[in-house]
Amino acid sequence: MPRRTDLKRILLLGSGPIVIGQAAEFDYSGTQAVKALREEGYEVVLVNSNPATIMTDPEFADRTYIEPVTPEWVERVIARERPDALLPTMGGQTALNVAMALHTSGVLERYGVELIGADARAIRMAEDREAFADAMRRIGLKVPPGGFATSVEQARAIVERTGYPAIIRPSFTLGGTGGGIAYNPSELDGRVQWGLDASPTHQVLVEQSVVGWKEFELEVMRDGRDNVVIVCSIENLDPMGVHTGDSITVAPAMTLTDREYQVMRDAAIAIIREIGVEAGGCNIQFAVSPADGEMLVIEMNPRVSRSSALASKATGFPIARMGTKLAVGYTLDELPNDITRTTPASFEPVLDYVVVKFPRFPFEKFPGADWRLTTQMKSVGESMAIGRTFKEAFQKGIRALEMDRAGWVAGATPADDRLEHDDADTIRAALRQPTPERVFQVKRAFEAGLGADEIARLTGIDPWFTGQMAELVEAERAFRAAWPRAGAEPARRELLRRMKRMGFSDVQLAGLAGTTEDRVREERHALGVRPAFKTVDTCAGEFPSATPYLYSSYDEENESEPFGERAVVVLGSGPNRIGQGVEFDYCCVRAALAFRELGYRTIMINSNPETVSTDFDISDKLYFEPLTFEDVLEIVELERPLGVVVQLGGQTPLKLARRLDAAGVRILGTSADAIDTAEDRRRFEAIGRELGITQPPSGTATSTEEALAVAEKVGYPVLVRPSYVLGGRAMEIVYDAGTLREYFATAARAAPGHPVLIDRFLEDAFEADVDAIADGTTCVIGGIMQHIEDAGIHSGDSACVLPPYLIGEPELEEMRRHTRALAKALGVVGLINVQYAIKDGVVYCLEVNPRGSRTVPFVSKATGVPLAKLAAGVMVGRTLGQLGLRDEPELPYVAVKEAVFPFVKLPNVDTILGPEMRSTGEVMGIADTFGWAFAKAQIGADGALPLEGTIFVTVNDGDKPTVTPIVRRFHEMGFKLVATEGTARYLQRRGIACERVNKVWEGRPNAVDLIISGKVQLLINTPLGKYSQRDDYELRRAALMHRVPYTTTMSAAAAACDAVIALRSSPGDVLSLQERYRTHRASTVQVA
C-alpha cells in the first residue's frame, strides 16, 4: 500500500518537558516523525511545550506550536489548524494520554481528526492493566498473578492470595511513577497509598513479585498488512525488580537459546496482533524464570519508547521513522532499509557487536533521596556503548557515563561505591540491594575474593554476566603481573592488544601498570595498537552499507574512510544529566546541519542513545563513542578534520578542550585558552577590572583555611562552588563560618584539582542571563532573559522571561555593553553567555561562559534567531554580517521559560529551590502579555494556576511585606485566603481577610490535611527557618503529591498573580512560531 493521499495535514504531539521516565528520546522520535512526514509531502503541525528540543526548531515542522501538551490546549490548536489526522505514538505517555482524552471527550470526532499509528481501542487495551491481562489470557500467555485495588484494604486482600514480595504498579503513570516493591504488610500499606495517589485513576495493580527473574524486552513493528518484525531484543543485566530504565541493559539478548527466543518472538507477535496496533511499533517486556524458563508477560507500550530509541541506535533501524511511515499507510516491504539502502525494511536486524546501556542517576543532586533502585525509575540519562564483545561494550559504557570512572573500576574509597567498608561481608550484604553503584560493588566483591557464582546468587545477575566480569578481573591480574616483565615489543604489543580488545581504557591500563595515561598512549601508538572502526549496518556485513555509523574496536579491519580537511567534528554532550540535557543536543544538531549547509562534511561523536545527534542522518559520519580524551583523540587522529567544535555540548566537550588543544587538535571558534580564561577566576577578574565591569567581591580557595579567610574578606553570605562544573553542582549559599567548614569537607571532591570559588552572595538581586554571538569582531545580543526567581536560585531552575519585564533600559544597555566587551576581550568566535545580577541599580557580572548555554534553544525559539546555526557559520570564518545577523531582535510578545522538577519521583526530597540545579526539563509559554506567557508556562509545567478557590499563604517574616500586595490582589479577585498563625495575623492587621489554619504540630485538622483534602488551590510558601523546616517540607510534599501548584519565592508568587489575572481575562489563544516571527522579523533579522 502506498502512502495515504486522503491525509494532507497531520498533527504531531511532543512529550512536553523532560522528566524522569520521559526524556530526550521523544525528541529523537518526534524529530524523526516530523522529517518522515514532511518527506512524504504532508503538512506537519507540531505541539510541544519544550523549547529545548530539536523538533520545535521552526525549520522542522510547517507549524510549530510551543504550547502546553494538554487536551485543552491541543484542542485549541486542532480548532485552528483542522488537521486530518493525529499521530499520538511519538510523544511518550504524555501524547498518548492527551490523544486518548481528546478521543474520549469527542474532540477528535467533532473536528474529524483520525488517530493514526495506534487507535483508541488498542491504546486502551495496552494501557489499562486489567484489559491487558485479559488480552494475554485470551492468547494463552501468562502474566504475574495479581489483581487490581483501589484501596489499601483491597491490596491487602490480593497479597493475602499472592504473597510477598508484592509489586505495586499504578495505572496510567509514567516510568513506574508511584510504583514499588513491598516485602511486608507495613511496606505494603505505604507503597499502595503512594501508588494510589500517583495514579490518575486511583488504581494500582498488585502482583506477585518475580524479583530476580531474568528480564527481556522486544521491540516489535507491524504494518497495515499484518507483517511483523522484531527489531531488537534487549536483555537486562539487572534482573526483575529494577525498572528497565534504571537497569544496565544489553542488546542483543545474551543468554537465551534460540528455542526460548523464538517462543518469546511468537508471543510478541501474538501480543501486537491481539492488542491491535495496526501500523506502528511497540515495546514488550517479559520475565523469564532462571530456574525453568517459565515466561511471563510484564507489559506492553503501544508507542515508541526509551527502549525503542535504544533499539534504534543499537541496530541502526530507525523505529520512529519507520513507525511514522507505517502510520501513513506504507508497508514494511515498501520501505527501504535506510542503512543499506538496497534491502527492504521488512527484515530483522542482526548485530555483529554487543551494545550495553548504562543509566545515569541524579543522586549527587539529591543527597537525601532514596537511592535504592526499584520499579520506579530514578535515572535521568543514559550512555550506550558498542563493542565487539560484551566485555568491551561494558567497559566503554561505564566510561561513557562520565562519572570519573575510566572503566569498570572501583571507586577511590568504599564510600564512592556506597559501602561502609570493603570487607567481604559488608559487600555481600550490599550486593542484595540494587543501587546505582552495585556494579562497582561487584568489582570490589571480586577483589575481596568472592566468586562469580556467589555474586550471581547475591545479586540475581545471570552467572553468564558475572562470569564475563570475572574474566575482566582475571585479565587485570594477568596484565599487572605480565606487563613489568614483558620486555620484547611483540609481547608488549600482544598484551596491550588483548587488554584493549576487552575495553580497557588507557587510564585503566595506566592504573594497572603504575604509569600515566599519556605514557600508555605513547607506547600504544608506538606499538601500532590503534582502534579499528566498525560499521553498524543492521545486517552484520551481509550487505554493503551506505551509512557511516561507526564504533571503535581493536579488531583488524578499519572501515572508516577519513574525511580530512573538509570535515568538522562536533562533540556531543554525552549522557543527559541534570544541568546538561537536550538543550545542548539541540545546539550540536543545529550546528551539524549548518556545517553541512555550509559545504562541510560533519562528524558527530556522542554516547547518548536518547538524542537526535546520534541519529545517523544528522551528520555525514557518526561515531558512537564515549566522550573521553582517549576516544575522541583516536577519532580525530584518524579523521584529520578541519577542527573540532567543543563549545556546543556543555561541559563534556569543554572539559576536553585544553587537552585536545595541547595535543595539536584545532578547536574551532573561541580558543581553548579563552574558555580557560573565563573559567579561571583570577584571569577572569583581571579582565573584568580592565573592562570596568563590576563583579561581586570574590576569591578562590583550595583549603578550608583559605576559604574562611576569603569569606571573611568578601563578607557573608557567600556563594561557594567548585570551578568547572555545570548545573551548580555542589553550589551553596553559606551564611556563616561553621556551614562553610562543613561544605568544604564535602565539596572539594566535586572537581578534583580545581579550586572552590567563593563569591559574595547578592541577596534580593534580580538576575539576568544574556546569550550572544560573536564572530571575533562583532557581537550581537541574541536575547536578555530576566530571572523570575530571586538571586540564589540556580539559573537553570529559575523561571525566566524574555524580554525582561522589570529591568530598566539603562541596566539593559549596560549588560549589552559588558557582553560585547567581554566577547571582544575573550576573542569569542561563537556563542557566549553572561550572567548578571542587578542590585540597587548596580549591574554585577556573575559569570561568563564563552560557549553555548542551556538557554540557547529557548532564546532561539523565542526570537526566531537560530543562534547555534549561526555559531556554526562564524566558527568556520563567516562574519555575522555575511550570515545576515545585524541586531538584537525586538519582540512584540513575551516568552517565559519555566523549569520542571523530578521531585514527584524522588520520595523524601524537599522541593525548595537553591543554587544547585535540580530541574530535569523546561517548558516555554509564549503569548502577547507576560501574564499569559507565564500562565501557559505553568500549565505546560503541570502546575496550572487556579482561576478561583483558596490560597494558602505561609511565608517567613522577611517575605511578609512583599507578599502582602500580592495576596491583596488575589483577595480582590475573590480568592479565599488561609494562613498559619503568624502570616494570618500579619495579613489581618493589614485589612486582608484571612482564615487561620493549624501548623502540623498545632493539631488537626492542619494545613497538610487541608491540602490533601483538596481545599487548597495554590500554595505560597517560603521557608520559615530552621525549626519549622519539617512543617514546610510536609506542606510542599503534600502539594506536590496532590498536584496543588505552589510557589516558594515571592517573585514567582507575583508572577503567578499576573498569570491568574490573565487567565481570568480571556480564554487565551495559540499561535505558531512561524506566524509569530512574521510579526517582528521584517524589522530585525534576515537570517540566510
Binding site: Y261, F347, V354, G541, E542
Partner: protein, 371 residues
Amino acid sequence: MSERQLPAYVLLEDGTWYRGATSAPFDVTTAEVVFTTNLSGYQEVFTDPSYAGQAVVLTAPMIGNYGINPEDMEAPRPMVAGVVVRELSREASSWRATGRLGPWLGGFGIPVISEVDTRRLTRQIRQRGAMQGVLAIGDEPSEEARRVLAAAPRMEGLDLASRVTCRTWETVGPGDASFKVVAYDFGMKRNIVRLLVANGCQVTVVPSDTPAAAVLERHPDGVFLSNGPGDPAAIAYAPAMLRELASSGTPIFGICLGHQLLGLAFGAATVKMPYGHRGGNHPVRDLRTGRVLITSQNHGFAIQAEPGSTAVPGAPALEVTHRNLNDHTVEGVRHLELPVFAVQYHPEASPGPHDARHHFAEFVRLMSSTP
C-alpha cells in the same frame, strides 16, 4: 582465557588470512568458508547436516553463552567442518545447559577458532563470494596449509547429500497417524520430522537414493524432500526419481535442497550463489498473498529465474511462489498441475523464526485434498 590458547588462523583461497586462537589442537582442515548471521541457535547450526563440508563463521560475536543441551540437536552430532567465532564463551548459562560449547565441539574433533575479526572475514566473503579455506594451527599460514587448500575440492559438483543421508529406513510417529509420509533424507534436520509428526503424520525416513518404486509401493499419502548439503546438480539420480514420484500424483513437499531438486527435476537450472543465504532474518514474499515472512535460511545454491516473473526458465510446469526481498532470488515454487510445492527457506526454523511453519499444515491440507 585461563584455558591455554594456541595461535590459529583461517586462510582463504584468495590468499587473505585471519588470525585467531584455539584451545583445542586440531588437524589442518579444508572446507568451504561461509557465514551465518543467526543471532542465536548456534547449536542447531552446528548440527544441521546442510553445513556438511563447510566451516561456519558466526557474525554474532558472542558464541557459547548458553552452552549446549540435548534438545537442540538437529542431527546426532555436529555436522560442520569447522567453527570460526569472535569470542567463544567460557561460561555457559542456561537452565537447560548440560555442557559448554567449546569442549563439546572439541570432543568431536571439530576445529574451533576464536578471537577472529569475523566481521572482516564476513565482508571478504561478501565481496569475493564463498571460498574454500583452510583452518590450521600456527601464527601464520604454513606451506602445508597452502598446499592442502590448493588441492581441496570445490563445492560445485559435490554430492554431499549422498554422504550424509541415513543408511536404513526408519519410521517415526504414531502408527494411527492420519497421514503416512515418506521423507527422503538428503541431510534432514530433526525438527522437520518433529513438525511433520506434530501435524499428524507418521514419517518414514529413507535414504536419499531410495528408488521411487520402493516408495510408491507403500502408497504414502505424501512424499517429503529434505534439506541437505552440497550441489543439487551433482545428485545425478535425483531428477528421474523425483519425476517418477511426482507423476504418480502423490503430494510432494520439498525444503531447501529438496526445493532445488524439484526444480531440476522439472527442467529448471540451479546456480551457485555468490555467498548464499544463511541466517534467520531473510524477508520472503509470498507472491500469492503479498505477505512477508521472516525466514530461516541456509543455502548456497538457488533455482535460476528472472526477477519479477513467476516463470521458471526451462520448467514451464513450475511457477515461482516466493521471492527473497533482499536479492529477489527464488524462494518457493509449485507445480501448476501436480500437488507439488517446495520452499527454499526453512519453515522448520530451528534455529530461526516460526513465520513459515504453516507450510507443514499446507502439506497436510494438500494430502487430505488429494484422493
